[in-house]
């Protein structure tokens, strides 16, 4: 499957099944568009007619381009076939180890963000803090079910995990003991709203946390509209200085300032740039996923504006990068040369199979976004997976299980998208959340464009050096 698009002055051709990216001129762009459904003679005639006013577009040139395309096709770099579907089912059949847990260390929160999918951190249930005993059992469960996996991940999540900081510290210490015994490597992450981000917490996080997610929605008026304290006050002034200190202490690495955009700030690129202007270098901004009846929910008519925002953001990032003042945006980070293998790309995030969420009392759910919905309870950390039928249903959640993904160019970059979002939007684990898909396709296009720009900049710099 070939996807062609123009972005920021570049003609880009993505061969979705091989992952190859080509940047081409107008003539090659048109030839590739005609290639599959027309004969070489028809293509030559059409191109000569279209470019009649350009003397360098000759029959010889067109023949040469056709030969280049044929060679790329032979090399599996263009018009390559999707031959991976059987791998998806085989891989899921044999892959049953667990390698990551999301520990709901606190079902309680000191903010009351209006869009929170966890309902003020309580997940539609009672307030609760995870005890050390439950957390320890969860870590033991993870080690016991991780097979030969060396790298294990544990997310401290909530609610607000820092409301149970002592247990976080105890669990990290326990895991560090156990990793030596079992030859494992724990990578911890912490997601926090910043209210309890003290110097002690920062020092601990900088020593032990592989990644920290800091929640901030952007401009003060954006953030304070929805991210409010229990008594309704905005949180921006309280948390920004703490986040700035944290980012500097982490040498601007191993963190994300992560925001949520809603119907109220469809001009979200301004919020991202505001966060960058505050001095942060690692940014993420996600569309709210909400009941359509909520006033802040994104609407279908918002889509053209949202898509344009991603272009505006990409162009500004490129401009800043060229001036030496760039920053990273989560969805525009793409490693074309060292990205994940095909098995990872087709099997997805591991929801309910490789990755699970643990409630404060030890119940297991497929992921943090299913917690609170009893019908998705898989078991608990004391007795293991008991609902194997449900787990097996999640095993089948891969890109080939979603019929809408079959002809989508982005399927190797999203693996079929977020199962939780799909379920909440459609009621089916193998559905697709269309608005999310539209946004993700755009983000992939922008991310690849930035890679193309980087490659072209490098090439022109090299050419300049050679001509000196």
């Amino acid at each position: 499957m070939v996807h062609q698009y123009k972005n920021n002055g570049y003609n880009i051709v993505l061969d979705a099944n091989s992952g190859s990216v080509h940047v081409v001129d107008d003539v090659a762009y048109d030839i590739i568009a005609l290639y599959e459904d027309h004969t070489p003679q028809e293509i030559t005639a059409a191109i000569l007619e279209k470019y009649a006013d350009q003397p360098d577009v000759t029959e010889t040139e067109i023949q040469e381009t056709l030969r280049d395309i044929e060679q790329l096709k032979k090399d599996g770099r263009l018009f390559s076939e999707d031959t991976y579907e059987n791998l998806a089912w085989d891989f899921k059949n044999r892959s049953t180890v667990i390698k990551a847990l999301c520990l709901h260390i606190a079902h309680d929160c000191n903010l009351a963000c209006k869009y929170c999918f966890a309902g003020k951190g309580e997940y539609c249930g009672d307030k609760a803090l995870m005890s050390f005993e439950v957390g320890k059992q969860a870590l033991d469960f993870l080690i016991a079910n991780s097979g030969t996996r060396h790298n294990l991940e544990v997310d401290f999540f909530g609610g607000e995990p820092l409301m149970n900081f002592d247990v976080v510290k105890q669990l990290v210490a326990y895991a560090r003991e156990q990793e030596k015994i079992h030859n494992k490597n724990f990578r911890f992450t912490l997601t926090t709203n910043g209210v309890l981000l003290t110097d002690e917490v920062m020092e601990f996080a900088n020593k032990e946390m592989y990644n920290v997610v800091l929640s901030l929605d952007g401009r003060k008026e954006t953030n304070d509209r929805l991210r409010v304290t229990r008594n309704g006050k905005g949180s921006y002034d309280m948390i920004v200085p703490r986040f700035q200190k944290m980012a500097e202490l982490r040498h601007q690495e191993g963190y994300y300032v992560r925001g949520t955009y809603t119907h109220y700030n469809t001009d979200f690129a301004k919020d991202i740039l505001h966060i960058a202007d505050l001095g942060f270098k690692q940014l993420a901004m996600e569309p709210v996923v909400a009941d359509p009846k909520e006033d802040y929910a994104l609407k279908e008519e918002d889509l053209p504006v949202l898509l344009e925002q991603y272009d505006i953001l990409a162009q500004e990032m490129l401009r800043r990068s060229r001036k030496g003042n760039g920053f990273t945006f989560f969805h525009y980070m793409i490693d074309l040369a060292g990205g994940p293998c095909i098995y990872k790309r087709i099997s997805g995030c591991g929801v309910g199979t490789e990755y699970m969420a643990v409630t404060p009392w030890g119940d297991l759910y497929p992921c943090h976004q299913f917690v609170g919905n009893e019908k998705f309870k898989l078991g608990d950390v004391f007795h293991g997976i008991q609902n194997t039928e449900l787990r097996d249903e999640f095993k089948l959640c891969n890109v080939y299980a979603r019929k809408e993904c079959h002809d989508c160019f982005a399927k190797m970059f999203c693996s079929g998208g977020c199962t939780a979002n799909a379920y909440h939007a459609t009621g089916s684990l193998t559905g697709t959340y269309q608005l999310g898909c539209d946004l993700h396709r755009k983000r992939i296009e922008c991310a690849i464009m930035l890679k193309v720009a980087e490659a072209m900049d490098q090439e022109s710099n090299t050419n300049e050096e050679h001509s000196l």
Binding site: S20, V23, F91, K99, N151, D335, G338, C341, E354
Partner: protein, 41 residues
């Protein structure tokens, strides 16, 4: 040149030496890095 190809990992070739499962869980896939390739760098 009319067509320039960027340096990309060929997904078809990763069939034979992928699937170790040591990479990070993803919540993303697009911006993920292969743990084996990182180690080899």
């Amino acid at each position: 040149k009319r067509i320039q190809t960027l340096d990309t990992r060929n997904l078809a070739q990763s069939v034979n030496h992928g699937g170790c499962g040591e990479c990070q869980t993803s919540c993303g896939i697009a911006n993920q890095q292969c743990e084996q390739m990182k180690e080899n760098q």
